[in-house]
Symmetry: C2
Subunit: 485 residues, 2 copies
């Protein structure tokens, strides 16, 4: 496929030659995001530096009916930034300035390419930080965080991206610049701010973001608790939340995860435990002391075989070091791993983990569990060997089964990674035709020609029918007018 | 105007005669909501009792192209449930059952007609409550709370309706039943749950709601602080929030409000104070004690002339009694009052209140201020005499000026009451044409014939042009296709 007419020329005169990439060897950098099993070479990569450039580019794409995929740092795990055949990539990496830090109103105004961690670094001199902290926070961008409504270890207490963003500026495919949200708790009109957050780049391109900053906590405490069985650890999680405690983080690692990380970073974890919990509590010292006492009592009541309270800052950091190194540690014991992301009601933690173990045996693949237990957000890492023919397909198939398991237990198919290209099939299971159609109508209200990140996040009903998931009556799907894209 | 064809007959056979009201004297009950200055007799009132009945009714309205306005308890202050000429009212008052209280997951499943306060009453035996508490909570319904994204005294700490609702079931004009949201922190697909909350009944009819319940606080403390000037009280509010304290409630009353309530309920307020603040702190006893100490220091630093800490539960209740009786107390000193609702950045509290006083003098109308200072949500009560010709028009005009003042200081035209019919003109000022057009496109994605609560919440560009607020080029507005409704 080729770009139409003088599209390339027009891009160059808009952005300057340096910001337009068309050489195949340089395009290769953009052929995938962190779900690297899927690859597709874009026809072109454009790297705007200003808001008017983004507006002009999207207008141009509309004029030439060129499909366009916006890309932040490319750290997404569900293929949301995968290029589409015959389409271009609009990279936001050159719009990476922190426009303003306002310590009085506790807000920061950012360009979309600003790295997540850079926000907290810039806010630190004022005693402030930005709460959502996805594992990729060193690299991932705030624009990408908005696309996927990113969470992190601390979202249990401090919320997802949607709970920490006050305002965004969005460019539509028509090139219009919309200001959504504002400083107040509520705004009149429909809540297009929340609608856009987590929309995986299908509704518009975010070009400016205002986020809420929080005061750095005066005190933080971490408790490490070991358990002889996963079920007991799961019950302890449910009990802590049911007691009204809201830990800043509440993470679970199973034995495979404990062994892998211990061999890698020597965090001092008990390697014989079936599972450990890491429970972080923060706030004013009195509150932290009171909460710690209650949490320890609950952990004991639920059969913790060992409980350690971090005695100082270095020990607290060591407790976390294992959790933070868990993914690379797993990378050392398997040539490849596939990270899944599903959410279940906390009370079913033990039953779901049990079923995952059984499924893994069926598929003869290893699975390591390390995840955000407090909000029931699972991250099973499926181990496979990418060099072995058929191994990834088996891993992907097992991943799909795990998501279906989450649904069967009343959960959802994503906690924080999004649907992207990865979970389109499971979307057909999570939603009825009526909801999928309404999603598609919403999309058309923003992007009537379906040019923005097509084929991601929301499956068409035809796609669901192909997957055998959708009721087809006399060869016809309901609402064929929504099937164009 | 008359109802088309056999529409009335079909409604009767769907619902039974008892649930269809067509006699003019009984229709009169539904001719307005709590913005009673606007009235319009509906052609018909239907009172469904089941979800399938709501689906069938909306399908019927679509078939006959009959406009329909959903109505909860009719306590809305912006005319959102005002009937439209030639349209019908779909009343949800007969769907008033609490379907389920789940103390383990801390959720309640409700029909839309359940009264706000009834939720907390039903949850109390489990030590739980529902946080959003609009002043009308004895009467208002959870369905109406969703339409307006209602707040209340405690939304500063516990959020608006949108922060406390987990899932809703929505019937579209096509009669389709959509399930939006779920138990998890995040859900795949577009966030249609947040989109629907606060959409003022324009996108669909909510027929079932699942809300989050919170544990009743172990301790609550209230501080009353008096100030010799409004500016000092405003500065104290800003300082408390800037210090990182999040009071459960932080309310301001000016001298007129203090005098009116004191004469009515004898709450023991200092009647010579220019303003008082009521600051409520809640949580575990250690946290409440620590927070109270910090709050008192800040109030002193900012010139409080008197500070009282409630010594026991009866005194705490007495402190709040005045605030809660403020609206009826104002009703005793003026034959009528018009309650406005705008939000401003906290730091501009004093300047905005100053400007409101000046405007009130210009209009020769009294204004009483009693409001949610912590989140900058003003509720100026404009005093007028409905029997005096032109007095309400002057009050309405002053109200509009106050909203424009909020905008000028970087605020918004509503905090928690919604736009309804009342603030359409100010919507033209708060938003640009591009955003208003996107609102209209969104509406059409749910309700392509514009039958649901037409003429509310979102002004057409023509309406804005009539009001002199929109740029018209050579007699043409942009996007005439969006002007149908």
């Amino acid at each position: 496929m080729n770009l139409p007419g003088d599209f390339l020329q027009r891009c160059r005169s808009l952005l300057g030659d340096a910001n337009v990439i068309s050489e195949p060897e340089r395009l290769k950098v953009y052929e995938c995001d962190a779900l690297s099993a899927y690859r597709c070479l874009p026809l072109l990569v454009v790297l705007p530096e200003t808001v008017p450039q983004v507006q002009a580019l999207l207008k141009l794409c509309s004029e030439f009916q060129v499909q366009v995929v916006a890309r932040g740092a490319g750290t997404g795990l569900a293929g949301g930034a995968l290029p589409v055949t015959g389409g271009i990539i609009l990279g936001l990496s050159k719009m990476h300035r922190i426009l303003d830090i306002d310590p009085i109103n506790r807000t920061a105004r950012l360009q979309p390419g600003v790295r997540n961690l850079a926000i907290s670094e810039a806010a630190k001199p004022y005693g402030l930080y930005y709460a959502p902290d996805p594992s990729s926070q060193i690299a991932c961008s705030i624009g990408g965080n908005i696309a996927e409504n990113s969470g992190g270890v601390h979202c249990l207490k401090y919320g997802l991206t949607v709970h920490n963003v006050l305002q965004i500026k969005l460019v539509t495919m028509a090139g219009e610049l919309l200001t959504l949200g504002g400083g107040g708790l509520d705004a009149p009109g429909y809540d297009m701010l929340a609608l856009t957050i987590g929309s995986e780049g299908l509704l518009g391109v975010v070009v400016e973001i205002s986020v809420r900053l929080l005061p750095l906590q005066t005190q933080t405490q971490v408790i490490l608790a070991a358990f002889a069985g996963i079920a007991a650890a799961g019950a302890a999680v449910a009990a802590i939340i049911a007691a009204g405690l809201i830990p800043a983080g509440l993470e679970l690692m199973d034995n495979a995860a404990i062994r892998a990380t211990e061999a890698f970073v020597n965090a001092g974890y008990p390697i014989d435990a079936a599972a450990i919990l890491l429970c972080e509590l923060d706030g004013v010292p009195e509150q932290v002391a009171a909460d710690s006492e209650r949490a320890i009592a609950l952990l004991q009541d639920h059969g913790a075989t060992e409980i350690r309270l971090a005695q100082d800052e270095p020990e607290r950091k060591r407790f976390w070091a294992g959790r933070k190194a868990a993914f690379p540690a797993v990378g050392r014991i398997a040539s490849d791993y596939y990270c899944m992301d599903g959410t279940i009601p906390r009370k079913h933690l033990a039953a779901v983990l049990d079923n995952i173990t059984r499924l893994a045996l069926d598929y003869q693949l290893g699975v390591v569990n390390v995840f955000h237990a407090g909000d029931g957000n699972l991250h099973p890492l499926i181990l496979y060997d990418g060099a072995k023919p058929g191994d990834f397909d088996r891993a992907e198939s097992l991943g799909g089964k795990i998501l279906e398991l989450c649904l069967a237990f009343g959960g959802t198919i994503t906690g924080e990674h999004g649907v992207g290209i990865e979970k389109l099939g499971q979307m057909c299971q999570q939603f009825q035709a009526a909801e999928l159609q309404q999603f598609l109508r919403l999309k058309l209200a923003f992007d009537p020609h379906g040019l923005l990140n097509p084929g991601k996040a929301i499956p068409t009903l035809h796609r669901c029918a192909e997957l055998g998931q959708m009721h087809v009556h006399q060869g016809r799907l309901p609402h064929p007018e929504l099937e164009r894209y």
